[in-house]
């Protein structure tokens, strides 16, 4: 599915991030090609969330460069100098990535369709009717046709997460980031969310997914990246990393699941 010479959507190079003395990311290099699905695995506290948050600039890396679709994130390069971008420019750049959080983070004061419409209207200044039309189509895509007017509190966790996915898609991102999208769900609701993500993969969306669902990763990922203690331990196709891991940390992690 991925062309050999497909363009790079995400090109992260040597990303470092510390909180005080604690270095959480110790030089992460990672690539996602157009249409590629990368699953990010690793024990809790290994820095997976921090890496995703660096990619969409919710956190600012201390060192390292991140390019999305060829555009340097967080800085503007002029000659041999990098100029930090203002908050407003950063906000505009964040539209290139869509983020889906573990806790859904739907806007509690807005119903499903308003959740989806808010950012396209405010940020992209899209026409209202067009946005509504698009939002309805997205709700249909995630299997929630007819729940336009439901408030987050009236939806199950699985439904909320599917609205959250639709909300991110409404910004037409180049790259979707999922941070443990099913970890907060009751087991019987995991499937509906994973199948929406699977459907998204089939549309050719480039994605980076942090997950603990190994069988899902095996079936959906083009590439699996295993992280521990802020470094990438092993990268490769699922058949290699999941079924025939080489590094000791990976073997240990997979056996504990």
């Amino acid at each position: 599915m991925i062309l050999e010479d497909a363009p790079l959507i995400l090109d992260a190079f040597d990303v470092h991030k510390s909180y005080g003395e604690h270095e959480v990311l110790k030089g992460i290099t990672s690539e996602v090609m157009k249409g590629e699905v990368v699953c990010l695995l690793g024990p809790s506290g290994s820095g997976k969330s921090t890496f995703l948050r660096c990619v969409n600039q919710l956190e600012k890396p201390d060192v390292g460069s991140i390019q999305i679709n060829g555009e340097l994130i967080g800085y503007e390069r002029r000659g041999d100098k990098l100029f930090e971008l203002s908050d407003d420019r950063l906000a505009a750049q964040r539209c290139m990535t869509g983020m889906v959080f573990q806790n859904f983070n739907l806007f509690g004061h807005l119903n499903a369709i308003e959740n989806i419409m808010l950012a396209p209207r405010l940020v992209l200044k899209q026409d209202k009717d067009e946005t509504r039309h698009e939002a309805e189509r997205l709700l249909d895509q995630v299997g929630l046709k007819g729940r336009e007017r439901a408030y987050p509190s009236q939806l199950s966790g699985g439904q909320q997460q599917r609205v959250a996915i639709a909300r991110a898609l409404a910004m037409k991102p180049q790259l979707m980031l999922f941070d443990e999208p099913t970890s907060a769900l009751d087991p019987q609701l995991v499937g509906e969310v994973l199948s929406v993500i699977r459907g998204l993969a089939e549309t050719g969306m480039s994605m980076m997914i942090v997950t603990h669902e190994i069988s899902f990763a095996r079936s959906v990922a083009d590439k699996v990246m295993f992280m521990a203690d802020g470094v990438v331990i092993e990268v490769g196709p699922p058949s290699q990393v999941l079924d025939n891991p080489q590094a000791e940390r990976t073997i240990e992690f997979l056996s504990e699941l």
Partner: protein, 327 residues
């Protein structure tokens, strides 16, 4: 439980009360005698006697002319004073809410200068007596005798004596509004903090700027936490308006004082004013309750109205009189 139902239950054959050992798991229905609370009656009686005695003293005092109270309740000056009190309350609270929201967002911004200014403002205005602030604003002309905006000499802008602008009413609105802003700032800040951080992050990840995230996502949700304490502030501001009588702002208490300074029915007129303040706070309380219920605050811990709880706790009634027990 009424007695017919109890009888029916007692009559049920599986619950026939007998002595001696009973089969495991069998149940019987026995009457419950509620505990009596004699001290509630004694304490209540003493307190009630004291109240009656106090009220009787006031009501029958030859020094209070109740006909004067009645005569002034709908007096024109009093009603005009009340109108001003209401205007003053609404305007001050509005100033407080708007400025308080600005101060709260300043306090929570990433700009250290704005943070410090906001903190200093809140500390100053909460740390000094409102009465002093009222007198201060009324006398601001002593500090700033002339107010100049623009450059009047060059033909644009304007200039005026501070005293012309700083009437008692302006000073009252400034003092009450600026003071209220300090309290509202803390209330709004608390409301903002109560909104989970993920809401702001989700908004950011969708490309909203910090300002858009604050005004379109965080603040609308903070409102749930802001409205109830703001209702309390409404009542506090309403009563605080009486303090501006020191600068004779013509609101209810000033109007009252004006009348009794000429006819010397001091207590009678204070009773009139107090009565109206109570009416206004009662209306404010009802308004507050309405607003809260509109926001779906179902935090009602007390399900029974007051008069029912009153009787119940004195008489120990309303509990089950019969109870099914094992053995």
């Amino acid at each position: 439980m009424n007695s017919t139902r109890a009888q029916a239950l007692l009559g049920a054959d599986r619950t026939a009360a007998t002595d001696g050992p009973r089969p495991r798991g069998a149940t019987s229905i026995v009457q419950v005698i509620p505990a009596r609370y004699p001290y509630r009656w004694i304490g209540g009686s003493i307190a009630l006697l004291l109240c009656v005695w106090g009220l009787y003293t006031v009501a029958t005092s030859p020094n209070i002319t109740w006909s004067v109270v009645a005569a002034y309740i709908l007096n024109g000056t009093i009603l005009e004073g009340m109108r001003l009190t209401i205007v003053l309350t609404i305007v001050s609270l509005t100033v407080g809410v708007i400025l308080g929201t600005v101060l709260a967002t300043m306090r929570l911004s990433n700009n250290p200068v704005l943070q410090v200014i906001s903190s200093a403002y809140i500390t100053t205005f909460r740390g000094t007596p409102l009465l002093i602030q009222i007198i201060f604003w009324f006398n601001i002309a002593l500090v700033v005798p002339v107010i100049r905006i623009g450059w009047p000499q060059a033909g644009f802008g304007f200039e005026t004596q501070t005293n012309v602008i700083m009437t008692a009413m302006t000073a009252a609105i400034l003092a009450l509004g600026l003071n209220e802003a300090a309290y509202m700032a803390e209330i709004v800040r608390g409301g903002i903090i109560s909104v989970p951080k993920g809401q702001d992050e989700a908004a950011s990840s969708l490309g909203l700027t910090k300002r858009q995230a604050m005004w379109r996502v965080v603040l609308p949700q903070a409102v749930r936490a802001i409205v109830p304490p703001t209702g309390n502030q409404l009542i506090i501001v309403l009563k605080n308006t009486s303090l501006v009588s020191v600068i004779a702002a013509r609101e209810l208490l000033t109007a009252t004082q004006q009348i009794y300074s000429t006819n010397f029915y001091t207590i009678e007129l204070l009773i009139v004013a107090a009565g109206w303040y109570m009416v206004m706070t009662a209306v404010a309380t009802i308004l507050q309750g309405y607003l809260e219920s509109r926001l779906e605050y179902s935090l009602r811990s007390r399900t029974h109205p007051f008069h029912k709880r009153f009787v119940r706790s004195l008489l120990s009634i309303g509990r089950k009189n019969y109870m099914e027990v094992r053995g």
